[in-house]
Symmetry: C2
């Protein structure tokens, strides 16, 4: 487990680390996963540090899912994937890697996709595509 | 794709098929998955038929996630799993099997769990455990 000081997402929110932003408001940041399971794989992250679903305030979690739906709609318009997975992992046993609550919104062409490493140019392009198609 | 008439979840909501209920209100039904990935694996299902995240009304989806959080908290109290996965699949390519929107709330002990088939007695027992620990 990580405290807020060492937390990668807290550092992204603070502007100490770069990210491929898709959406931002006062409460959340949506950005590309840099090792996506599918092209356009987006993470919706609260700006305040909460570890997981047991820890986070209800209203903030609901806002994250409100934004996740907007991201899914934008992915559909921008990329037209065959499917979209929305997932939120709590605890290492459930696949959580960064212990700062986040929802994954993952464009899928098949159920058996693996993570890959797109170039910075590809990430920049897909972030812009989703951003331009996101209607709030 | 299935229309509401043939939809398994619509038939459960209508009382035409049985289920292991964990929670119910005017808008949603939470019940055990009968082929769970983890003990206590629960599905939160809207009573009205919507196919997926692109189709469902925002307020109803948010209520489903409000209930999913309560179910996760109840699973933690009742079963104390190492982790909890919350997942919502849209389209066969994303693993959706029943084309009526639903959120999975899955107690996990490891990331590599497979579906299994508990006895009716086990399902009855775990549904009651979660129900008794659910605080709304």
């Amino acid at each position: 487990m990580q405290g807020p000081q060492a937390c990668v997402f807290c550092r992204v929110v603070a502007g100490e680390l770069p990210s491929y932003k898709v959406y931002e408001d006062d409460w959340v940041l949506a950005m590309l996963d840099i090792r996506p399971v599918g092209r356009g794989h987006t993470l919706v992250v609260p700006k305040q540090h909460f570890e997981d679903v047991l820890d986070i305030e209800e209203d903030l979690m609901l806002h994250i899912y409100r934004v996740a739906k907007k991201v899914a709609e934008a992915q559909k318009r921008a990329l037209n994937p065959a499917g979209i997975g929305i997932a939120q992992n709590n605890g290492a046993a459930a696949g959580q890697i960064i212990f700062h609550f986040h929802a994954h919104v993952i464009p899928k062409e098949s159920v058996n996709q693996n993570r890959y490493e797109p170039s910075p140019e590809e990430l920049t392009e897909v972030a812009e595509l989703i951003r331009k198609n996101l209607v709030t």
